[in-house]
Amino acid sequence: MKVNRSIEEINAKIKKGKAVVLTAEAVIDLVEQKGSIEAAASVDVVTTGTFGPMCSSGVFLNVGHSSPRIKLTEAYLNGVPAYAGIAAVDLYLGATALPAADPANRNYPGEFLYGGGHVIEDLVSGKEVRFEGFSYGTDCYPRRKVDTIIRLDEINEATLFNPRNAYQNYNVAVNRGEKTIYTYMGVLKPNLGNAYYSTAGQLSPLFNDPYLKTIGLGTRIFLGGGIGYVAWHGTQHNPSAARTDKGIPRDPAGTLALIGDLKQMNARWLRGLSFLGYGATLQVGLGIPIPILNEEIMQYCAVRDDDIIAPVTDYYKDYPNLEDGNLGYVSYAELKSGLINLEGGKIPTASLSSYAGAREIAITLKEWIESGRFLLTEPSTKLPSAEADIVLKSMPQRDPEKREDD
């Protein structure tokens, strides 16, 4: 390598207010004009961003002890159930949880106007949230019922913990059937009437560090408008997915588990969403800084929408039935143009992930670093990457009456 730079050196420059930071969008032209070596010599950090719907998000809460005490077995926030099987007053509220009273898809397609994601948005906005809890009562925790109002600033801890965020690439959803379908990838019109994609492409964190050479355990990030950390690799992490010549996965691949203090986040970047006919979820804003350690990392950060391809997947039959295969690949440049060519026709496209939001996050993170308020961290260990040979598993289908371990 011609350029070699350590995170320590970068942090020293950040502290002096001298670090050169560019967004993953702005750096593309620089590398094209000057080449990766010269660009790497002049840039210290590249910032990325993404702001899309992310199921597999949620928050751990400790709501404090009541008097008399209660050991919660059931808990509801504004009617939305939280998981209480952890400890007396520790809970986990998931983004897709729905109130028992929600009509769901009984009135198809259901609207799912309020779920876990919306509670998280309300909490982070500082709104009052009704808290109901139930128990069976014990000698040490005699109380059986609480019904009160809580606010984020009054509870002990609220830790956003998202087991799977930042998907590195994702399907482009289409509908080959004869009727409209309502999915987590939006409303899909019949006969390939439209296509939805859901990553920020060239700005998306894991497209800019495709082999996880810099992002690892403990990497400090922008999360929900505050500061968070990479906690682990995400669930369904699949870094061994097939890649293009430039090392970009062609299919959904790596993921990250993220953690951060909800109390310092804001509702601008944590938004409850309602997917018609599907359910509720949370839109999460996150951004990851990439330290430009050498020209190889710089070259990865120069990735552009033309270089990134995604599989077009049928959500009428193939996706629901877990069938392999796809209808072909399209580039993010095509997807963003508003039309893709597929099976001899043109299909209008739109995204579910906000590119404008992703750019704003990358710019905000750049400003945080430039102003010296955000330092980079050295990962405490690497996350599994392509060489880990991870194979994504599906659920075994066995006869429950015939256990082999009996």
Partner: protein, 141 residues
Amino acid sequence: MVKQKIVLRFPPNIVEQPIIYMMIKDFDLMVNILRADINPRKEGRLMMEVSGENADYQRAMAWLKEQGLIITNLEQQIIWREDRCTHCGACTVICPTGALHFERPSMNVQFDQDKCIVCELCLRACPARAMETPIDNALFR
């Protein structure tokens, strides 16, 4: 000359009257129907663009009110709550007229009120529920 997009809401008892015919014949207006529906409770809604002489237009509106119809300007109907909009773009392939569209290359979403025909498809297709109508749409869903 006036040219105005309006919504007429009909109580059940007058759904079957030839309102359009009267507007054209008695008030000499040009009527372009954008959308019409009748809900299960037999209340009707008609969206149209009406043009003609101002005096005729005013007389027609007064007459319609006399008949018990509720009139609202179409422009007032769909509200884009920019503060709630995340600029995801999900609505841009649902909106049939391009009223909601991406600005390229910035990929900001814009709402062009003039192009909106109040089809209301965006209301439920927007995951952030950033599109709203002040009128009680529950009646028409």
